[in-house]
């Protein structure tokens, strides 16, 4: 479904990603894991068109998405739930959800999808008229995920969804991610919370300073010596 082939990404003159290749197939949960500065978020930003690679290709269902304007990607079925949630804090919860469904069928199905999001996160329904900026961190993360789902994506990309959340909320967020996969949506997730992530991921790639160092199924990596010492602290 998503094919990333040999991309090099720079911030100005500084290269942060070297010859990175990976793929995500339909229906999978794939994780990119790695320490701070490994280039995980950069990779997602490149896929969603906020950054562009100097070299390499990215295709989605066989179509070259580097040639497509970033604001059109959502119509193709790619949703990005960015790091730090990036909500519209001066809009209400409901308005934020509306912003997730501006185009195409998502717009027509807005009401139904909203009900669906509210049924996943009943808390959001209670607070639908509240300004997004006044929500707690966990609620904001729920809203960011909900906003991503409003576009009826085929691939949803999560950037550090557990960042800054209490352990109990982290569990809840991961449970939601499992549910999203059950609905048939493909998931690409970037995380520093390696243990939780590997337990939900079908496959994972390990990044270190912008280069791919390991790949395998979630279980394989969980048992890998390198991963154990570097991330799991065992």
């Amino acid at each position: 479904m998503l094919e990333v082939r040999g991309i090099d990404v720079f911030y100005g003159d500084v290269q942060v990603i070297w010859d990175l290749s990976f793929s995500v197939s339909e229906g999978e949960v794939v994780a990119l894991i790695g320490a701070n500065g490994a280039g995980k978020s950069t990779t997602l930003k490149t896929i969603s068109g906020i950054l562009s690679p100097r070299k390499g290709t990215i295709t989605f269902n066989g179509e070259d998405i580097l040639k497509i304007k970033p604001y059109r990607l959502i119509e193709m079925g790619i949703a990005h739930v960015p790091e730090g949630r990036r909500l519209f804090v001066e809009m209400t919860v409901e308005e934020n959800l509306d912003m997730g469904s501006l185009r195409g069928t998502a717009r027509k199905e807005r009401q139904r999808n909203k009900e669906m999001v509210y049924s996943i996160f009943p808390r959001l329904k209670e607070r639908s008229r509240q300004l997004a900026g006044t929500l707690s961190g966990g609620e904001q993360q729920m809203l960011a995920i909900g906003r991503g789902l409003m576009s009826m994506p085929r691939l949803i990309m999560f950037d550090e969804p557990s960042l800054g959340l209490a352990p109990i909320l982290v569990k809840e967020i991961f449970a939601v991610i499992e549910n999203i996969r059950k609905e048939g949506v493909t998931v690409l997730i970037v995380e520093q919370n390696v243990k939780q992530t590997l337990s939900v991921a079908d496959r994972a790639y390990v990044l270190e300073t912008g280069k791919m160092v390991l790949e395998g199924t979630g279980k394989e990596l969980m048992d890998n010596e390198h991963v154990k010492t570097a991330f799991l602290g065992v």
């Binding site: 969603s48 304007k69 959502i74 990005h80 990036r86 809009m91 509306d98 912003m99 501006l102 576009s151």
Partner: protein, 312 residues
């Protein structure tokens, strides 16, 4: 009551000339309304869409020069400059947007500041076209009396107020606010941010240009130093909105009243000279510290303060 407020205010303003105000009072009222228009226009781009411009004099000046050059070169009435300015300012805004809108935040602000100055220097040097620093003067103004000028600018203001209100409450308004709040998030949710920022810039420019074209007709004289002025136009525009309240419908109205009256008051202080700009600077600092959302935005704060004062 709140729903009727715009009608009541428009009605009262429409009746105001009938009570026989002095020419000076009429002049002040006209300036207040003109600044309201410019403030509302700036607010659309800066307040709602989040693109803070330091160069609105560019649009004001292009509007004014559209009317001025039309009159000077063709002999047609400068009033035609008002409809014509819509076209010329749109084209100019498109070009200005093409250059500056790829910049963000403070860089956009600096870019527009430069554009304003570029326009001034250009107008000073294209002597064949603009008369340079000699300026353009209308041989005779349409009316001696100010009443009609008053109604015309009031009409422009009402038109601007209604249009901006419609825009902000439409889909477009939501897109603007989304871009202000987080441009990258807006883009990834499917908003063509370049397109919508350009629309905001053009709309904002056109309303400012209308005020400029009116100014040419009303004052009867323009030169580059006046209509492309950095501190007397661009900065005052920002002050009007900051003092009144960013991203509020009534903020520019309140801001225009205060700024015009303040400018008049300060001007009457003897031997102050250009030091009056210091006063504006101090006022801006105080506003940012104590009323960051402006007088309209922080109205509840002001009310609380005075109530507290009375009780204590």
């Amino acid at each position: 009551m709140k729903k009727w407020l715009p009608y009541i205010i428009t009605g009262l303003l429409a009746l105001l000339p009938l009570i026989g105000l002095s020419t000076y009072m009429m002049h002040i009222l006209i300036l207040v309304i003109m600044w309201t228009v410019i403030g509302m226009a700036w607010n659309l781009l800066g307040g709602y869409c989040g693109q803070v411009s330091f160069g609105h004099a560019a649009f004001f000046g292009i509007g004014a020069y559209t009317a001025g050059i039309l009159y000077f070169k063709t002999g047609l009435s400068a009033w035609w400059g008002i409809p014509l300015s819509i076209f010329f300012v749109s084209v100019a805004s498109l070009l200005i947007g093409y250059v500056t809108l790829r910049l963000r935040g403070p860089f956009f602000a600096l870019g527009t500041l430069a554009i304003g100055e570029v326009c001034r220097v250009t107008a000073e040097n294209l002597r064949d076209f603009t008369q340079g620093t000699l300026g353009i003067m209308l041989k005779e103004r349409t009316w001696i009396d100010k009443t009609w000028y008053y109604y015309i600018i009031l009409g422009i203001a009402v038109f601007t107020f209604i249009s901006i209100r419609k825009i902000i409450n439409s889909k477009l308004g939501y897109y603007f606010v989304a871009i202000r709040e987080d441009q990258d998030a807006a883009e990834s949710l499917g908003i063509n941010t370049t397109l919508y920022k350009t629309i905001a810039l053009i709309l904002s420019g056109v309303f400012t240009g209308l005020a400029g074209a009116f100014y040419m007709n009303y004052m009867g004289y323009i030169d580059p130093e006046i209509v492309f002025a950095l501190h007397d136009i661009s900065i005052i525009t920002i002050m009007v909105v900051m003092v009144g309240g960013v991203a509020t419908f009534w903020g520019p109205v309140v801001g225009a009243v205060i700024m015009v009256l303040l400018a008049e008051m300060i001007r009457s202080i003897p031997r102050l000279g250009v030091a009056h700009q210091t006063m504006f600077g101090i006022l801006l600092i105080l506003i940012i510290i104590f009323l960051p959302n402006g007088i309209v935005g922080d109205f509840s704060k002001i009310r609380k303060f005075f109530r507290f004062g009375r009780a204590g």
